[in-house]
């Protein structure tokens, strides 16, 4: 997490050491070294006691280690420290998903996207939750918004194509899948789904005749 609340060229006088520790925590999380990640997040929390970042990191590590209760506590601390921290709400949504509380997961993902519509984890989480709940109306909007900001994001394009298909918007789905295959011609998921969409379109055409 970047500390963005300061501004100006010399604004990081108080946050540089914190940023180094937080970045180290994030890097070790990414390579799966959770012990080191926790070590650095805990030190970052000491230097930035008002920052949500280290607690988001600790929550992510706890999730990876299947310590759902610890993860929930960490994400709640992060929310309390910064109630505009979208990543903390994403974390709470993932905790709810683990507990199969899809309604809560959906709400938390939505809250996260309201704070930051650029949060890809929340977006894909919302998509997953929607699939689990069978409700797609709200997620389509967020996927479209995200895609307008990141036009080449294949994972989001694929999610949207799948949603269009489930929603019966087969032509839109086909166009999206063809766009994916232009960007990544060997994308297996897109090839398979396109076959499915083409089949459905063909059946629809025969029925209409």
């Amino acid at each position: 997490m970047d500390v963005k609340k300061n501004s100006g060229i010399d604004s990081h006088h108080c946050t540089q050491h914190y940023e180094v520790l937080q970045e180290l925590g994030d890097c070790y999380t990414s390579v799966g070294n959770y012990e080191q990640a926790k070590h650095y997040y805990e030190r970052a929390a000491l230097l930035g006691p008002d920052e949500a970042g280290p607690y988001v990191g600790l929550g992510v590590v706890a999730l990876q280690e299947d310590k759902i209760d610890d993860a929930e506590i960490a994400f709640k601390v992060a929310c309390r420290l910064d109630n505009a921290c979208d990543k903390a709400y994403t974390g709470l949504a993932m905790v709810a998903q683990q507990r199969k509380d899809y309604q809560k997961a959906f709400e938390m993902h939505m809250k996260s996207l309201e704070l930051n519509c650029d949060n890809i984890t929340a977006l894909l989480g919302l998509f997953q939750t929607s699939c689990q709940m069978g409700s797609f109306a709200k997620v389509t909007h967020y996927l479209q918004v995200y895609l307008s900001m990141h036009p080449g994001d294949i994972s989001v394009m694929f999610s949207l194509a799948a949603l269009y298909m489930k929603d019966g918007r087969l032509e839109q789905s086909r166009r999206m899948l063809k766009d994916i295959l232009t960007l990544a011609p060997s994308n297996r998921d897109a090839i398979d789904l396109l076959e499915e969409v083409e089949r459905a379109l063909s059946q629809m055409s025969q029925t209409q005749r």
Partner: protein, 487 residues
């Protein structure tokens, strides 16, 4: 080592059992300048370096600066870069390190050093015998004591800038507890010290600086003249002497306590050219500025045209002072050319005689003005404050290309490009800086972009190096720099 009336630390000093430590243990507090002079009077080494009690040398500090002075035979003064260490003072008195930033890494600039200090004393080393020329520290000053000395050093030597970080000094974020910072908050005292420093002229010869004579030309020394002279004292930072060609009666009426004023007695009925000629006959500067009564005098009033003249390679060229008009003529020229013009055309007015002698007067072009780098730096910082990050980054990049101070400017540009979301440019610049002289700042920036590119092992290596510097593993800092410079 001087204990200036502080807590007795004899037991600590004795524990070193090192005959090289000369310990001046005084119970009475006599101030920094007195203490420095006391130590200088006993110092025997070829070189002098300074260290305050709350600052830190890295292990290679002395080696770096001695090496620079031994190799750079033109320079008798060398300095390095330092981290400014921002910290929080905890209730138990210990310091929690928040950041270490090289805030200033300015290449030597004599003109700027005359205006204000850009070399921290902890980073300074000079030949001991230069003190014989500069004189000792001024014990009448209570702030800016170190600048007073570095300013005097520029009269005698160039400074070599060793682009290495060789130490650090502390800055508590809640407000500095440094005596010098606290004393600086008194504006009157600050101005008194500033003027004392700016008007200090060490004994000649000055191998690295040419003198300026200011001739104040007025037929009557009235109230307006008094204000003008006072403004000259307040605003002029280039070393000068002020020549007052006035009558004995007028001079006796004046109560001038301004330093560097030379009374040139003239007849009360003397004309302006006669007064200028009288002053010219005795003035000692390589440059002469003629200033009429009524000329507006403010910041940089003489330094802008003087800077252009000092750097001009054209013979018979002079520069008009800011505010000069036909009725209020003011200019700065080379003394030799002025003398020659007056000798050949004494019957003419001063501007006419210069013209007749072929001395062309003009206003300085923009690129001839001093402090262009500082203006650009100020604009860049202002743009950054307003969140115009790309604009700021481009200004710093331009400064790096055209005004030296490369590592410093590239670091600022990298930081701004990152803030602007132009991470590839930030990566390129921070990598360049890290290859030559890594700092916590640029290591962090490079690591952030590497992490974004999923190059986690490289990011971790960079961040761990940054962390080592932050926690004060100065041996590691040293190794990092040596390893990187050798690679």
């Amino acid at each position: 080592m001087v204990n200036d009336g502080g807590e007795d630390v004899s037991d600590v000093v004795d524990s070193f059992s090192d005959s090289r430590i000369v310990f001046i243990n005084r119970k009475e507090n006599k101030g920094k300048a007195f203490s420095l002079n006391e130590a200088l009077n006993r110092a025997e080494g070829k070189y002098i370096a300074y260290l305050d009690d709350d600052d830190l040398y890295y292990p290679h500090h002395v080696e770096t600066l001695v090496g620079a002075l031994e190799n750079q035979t033109d320079c008798q003064v060398a300095y390095s870069d330092l981290y400014k260490t921002y910290c929080k003072v905890l209730p138990d008195g210990s310091r929690q390190i928040l950041s270490k930033i090289v805030e200033i890494s300015r290449d030597f600039n004599r003109f700027f050093m005359l205006y204000f200090n850009h070399v921290l004393h902890v980073s300074l080393m000079h030949h001991r015998d230069l003190i014989d020329k500069t004189g000792l520290y001024n014990e009448q000053l209570n702030i800016l004591i170190d600048w007073d000395m570095t300013r005097r050093l520029v009269f005698f030597s160039d400074f070599y800038h060793a682009n290495e970080i060789t130490g650090e000094f502390y800055s508590p974020v809640e407000g500095s507890d440094r005596i010098s910072v606290l004393q600086r908050q008194n504006e009157g005292e600050f101005l008194r010290n500033l003027l004392a420093i700016r008007t200090k002229r060490p004994a000649k010869p000055w191998p690295k600086l040419e003198d300026l004579s200011i001739i104040f030309a007025t037929e009557h020394f009235n109230k307006q003249a008094g204000q003008s002279v006072s403004s000259i004292w307040r605003y002029t930072f280039y070393p000068y002497k002020l020549y007052l060609p006035i009558s004995r009666a007028e001079f006796d009426r004046l109560k001038i306590d301004m330093p560097n004023v030379v009374f040139v007695p003239v007849e009360p009925t003397s004309s302006i050219p006669q007064r200028i000629d009288a002053a010219l006959a005795v003035c000692e500067g390589e440059y002469v500025a003629v200033v009429p009564n009524g000329l507006p005098v403010g910041e940089m009033w003489v330094e802008k045209p003087l800077h252009a003249l000092i750097n001009s390679r054209t013979q018979r060229e002079g520069f008009k002072l800011i505010g000069s008009t036909d009725d209020c003529w003011a200019a700065v020229v080379r003394k030799g050319e002025m003398l020659s013009a007056r000798k050949r055309f004494p019957q003419l007015s001063v501007p006419e005689s210069l013209k007749a002698a072929g001395v062309v007067l003009r206003e300085p072009d923009f690129e001839e003005l001093p402090f262009q780098f500082d203006d650009l730096l100020g604009c860049g910082k202002s743009a950054a404050r307003d969140g115009r990050w790309t604009e700021a980054a481009e200004m710093f990049e331009y400064a790096a290309e055209h005004y030296r101070n490369e590592l410093w400017m590239k670091t600022l540009a990298a930081r701004c490009f990152y803030k602007a979301g132009e991470h590839i440019k930030a990566l390129k610049l921070s990598t360049q800086v890290n290859a030559r002289r890594p700092t916590v700042d640029t290591l962090l920036l490079e690591a952030k972009v590497k992490r974004e590119k999923n190059d986690f092992s490289a990011a971790i290596e960079l961040l761990r190096t940054a962390e080592q510097i932050l926690v004060g593993d100065s041996e590691s800092c040293f190794r990092v720099e040596v390893n990187r410079s050798s690679s």
